[in-house]
Amino acid sequence: MSPLALAFVITALALIGWVTARARAARFRRGTTRRFSSLPQHHGWFVAMGTLLPALLFLAVWHLTAPALVTEAVLTTPGAATLPPPGLDRVAILAEARNLAAGRSYGAFHPLSEQLAPAYAAAQRRYDWIATAVALLLAFVGGALSFLRVRPGFSARTHVERVIMGALLGASLIAIVTTIGIIVSLLFESARFFHVVPISDFLLGTHWSPQAIDPRDPGASLGAVPLFWGTFFIGAVIAMAVAIPFGLMSAIYLTQYARPATRRWVKPMLEILAGVPTVVYGYFAALTVAPAVRDLGVALGVSWASSESALAAGAVMGVMIIPFVSSMADDSLAAVPAAMRDGSLAMGATSSETIRQVLLPAALPGVVGGVLLAVSRAIGETMIVVMAASGVATLTLNPFASATTVTKQIVDLLTGEAAFDSAKTLAAFALGLTLFVITLLLNVVALIVVRRYREAYE
């Protein structure tokens, strides 16, 4: 039976259980004045869960183990005796045979896989039948056992609510599992990378050219300092040079000067700027901004200005960050007690004097925290730099020169045609780990700064 049909049958069984149990519970309510802890539908849900959960649990576990069991069964067939010893070839042949058996591919690259395909199909069919039978049996037995418990005195609600609470807890644990998944997978692959390349070469080396890795000394061409510099230069210097003045000034104008009607229109418009997908910014940066920046550079006398300059990518990234900085500044300005502003205005200071000499110094920690969060977002930004920045890692201070970033290199390293565990792909994970750690630190520091500042005024 196909998985979909099986799920359908089990759900149908659960539905039958729900209806019958509900009817039964409703029947023993009739004609008595006794009070019950559970409504009829609680009994219904209890039986439905008793039908569904064991079968689904079994299928989930089965789905993880079955492929291995099928492969084991195939390996015991006589056709498997001529397989090459364990290694990449063997895995490739087995995968091909599996695809042939499942009807996912039509031509076989390897003759042996064509031989093994029937064995695969047979084993798959056998195990599918076992799974179907066991799942149906579990659903039936589970449903029957729970149905037998439906009695007037049985508190089905407690059981149902316990399952619901379990589901709630399980759902919130997924966040922890994801975090652990990120940390473990990054650490694991990075550890394999640092096995090949010394960590000092990676963190302190100043030469980055993954296209030409010397197998005897891979660390010599995998020094990430130019990437760190490029990331810092584009994301934290150029982008912030655009985003901070524009974001801060628009927040000040919108909160202190603009009429409420204007504010109602302009603020969502700025938020649209944040909602535009980064790939659109990247296309705009590559097609419109980058050539303009190069022409500007040539006009300014930098004859070798790159068409993939740091300035183009950074400036567009800065525009993308404007609404983010603006809303953070907005929040911190709003958190300054009105008494401070009123006091300053009452002393005869103009609005701009009040803003510059009272509001901004008071809101500074909040603004700084917001800027740190903005930096963390900018250095993790990928598509703009992938499309508009260059792939050549240089240590330069000139905004018209080309620069590359960590995220750009991760994409370049992983989208090439390299084996999954070559030094190149593993380097991407090491870069990812660095990026993760840096953004995490920035976020933590920013949150501490913002929280301290909030406490000061509350």
Partner: protein, 431 residues
């Protein structure tokens, strides 16, 4: 501040007796006031300039995409006189019925016949070079609809090659534009159905957006089915039931942290776990949806927590007082009241996921996919990745396709955000 704002006024508190009222009419005082007001106006203008510049950038971005992309929805057609009776096609009318008609017509040399017709009608303009790769497919469709075309002379409008298409729309080199002008009597414009209904192609005139759009819809379906229930359930747990202890703090910290992790890191996670450990199919909508779900869940959790927290405690107290269990309080009363806020947050999170590119590149969704995906495990691509792939293509014909795809993506995002705003305004209660 050591200097007094008012010149001549005593700074030290030791000599308060000498204080006199400031004379605001003196020339120096007047000048000071003028300067301060000028500074005020400058500052205010600066703020206005920042707002106007940001808005202008947005408008410029949208306008340039519209101007460049509008042409992508339109194709140039050329009226091509055909005499298929003389072309010597070896097909019988019986072969034109049923599913094997495509093969029969292709085998009979229809493509050659169409190219030859172009060669005889427009010999000086280059003949078959003028036609798009899709031209003979149009003829094939027409013949399938009306087999009598095989026996008479007919004029069919077929799409032209990319270069001529661009030239007719006013781009390309001077020679190409001259060619387009000389052919102008035969050329016409029409809606590009291949773009709206087809999938990726190596020929810009045949490339379509539907394959990527369908991939996006499948991916979003997986994301929504996972992220929405998980996000809402964990928000309910954290906001309503969770005891205040170290575990709860850990969950909160990881959710807040996940919401700020760069999206590309989720791509690395998807690559290492879903592809590396679980051997799921590369570039499938299923894997893309799973990866984006991990990224979107924290956003939904945070939005849902705000919405749930905004429901006043009196509602909960009233329900408890009437004998509802904690689960009934939340699922019968709190959740329905918080739902508009939760949906708003979910739509905004989904809009972000729809525009996301980097994590999907990591899990191999950058392959050339020439057919729309049929199942969740089929190789697929999504709109933003399609935009990225086309933007990388060297053929000039893809420039307008890229911008047109961007327009399609922005229309979807705008619709989603509009829906979120509508929901917020229509249903959200201010307690």
């Amino acid at each position: 501040m050591s200097k007094s704002l008012v010149p001549g006024a005593p700074v030290s508190a030791a000599a308060p007796a000498e204080r006199r009222p400031t004379d605001w009419r003196t020339a120096s005082m007047q000048r000071r006031v003028r300067q301060r007001y000028a500074a005020e106006r400058r500052f205010r203008l600066l703020g206005l300039a920042a707002v106007v510049a940001s808005a202008a950038f947005l408008l410029f971005l949208l306008a340039s995409m519209l101007a460049r992309g509008a042409g992508g929805f339109v194709e140039t057609r050329i009226a091509l006189p055909l005499d298929l009776a003389r072309a010597g096609l070896s097909v019988t009318p019986a072969q034109l019925r049923g599913p094997r008609a495509d093969l029969a017509l292709a085998g009979a040399g229809l493509e050659r016949a169409v190219d030859a017709a172009a060669g005889t009608v427009f010999p000086r303009a280059g003949g078959a070079v003028l036609l798009s790769d899709a031209a003979w497919l149009r003829v094939r469709e027409a013949v399938k609809r009306d087999p009598s075309l095989l026996r008479r002379r007919v004029t069919i409008e077929v799409p032209v090659a990319s270069r001529l298409d661009i030239a007719f729309k006013g781009g390309g080199t001077r020679a190409e534009r001259a060619l387009a002008r000389s052919l102008a009597p035969h050329l016409s414009r029409g809606l590009n159905r291949d773009f709206l209904g087809g999938a990726d192609s190596t020929d810009p005139t045949r490339a379509g957006i539907w394959g990527a759009l369908k991939g996006s819809l499948l991916t979003m379906l997986v994301t929504l089915l996972l992220a929405f229930p998980i996000g809402v359930l964990s928000a309910l747990y954290l906001e309503e039931y969770a005891p205040r202890n170290r575990w709860t703090d850990l969950i909160e910290v990881s959710i807040n942290n996940l919401a700020a992790v760069p999206s590309i890191i989720f791509g690395l996670l998807g690559l290492a776990v879903f592809l590396g450990t679980f051997h799921m199919p590369r570039s499938a909508a299923l894997v893309g949806g799973l990866t984006l779900a991990l990224m979107t869940t924290p956003v939904i959790v945070i939005a849902a927590r705000n919405a749930v927290g905004a429901v006043p405690p009196s509602i909960r107290d009233a329900a408890r007082a009437l004998g509802a269990s904690p689960v009934q309080v939340v699922f019968h009363h709190v959740l329905p009241l918080a739902l508009p806020g939760i949906l708003t947050g979910t739509i905004i999170g989904m809009a972000r996921a729809l525009g996301e590119t980097a994590p999907l590149l990591m899990i191999g969704m950058r392959a050339f996919i020439a057919a729309p995906p049929e199942r969740l495990t089929d190789p697929a691509t999504v709109l933003p990745v399609q935009i990225f792939l086309w933007s990388d293509d060297v053929q000039t014909g893809f420039i307008e396709k890229t911008s047109a795809a961007i327009i399609v993506l922005l229309v979807f995002l705008l619709a989603m955000n509009g829906l979120a705003i509508y929901l917020r305004n229509r249903f959200e209660t201010r307690w």
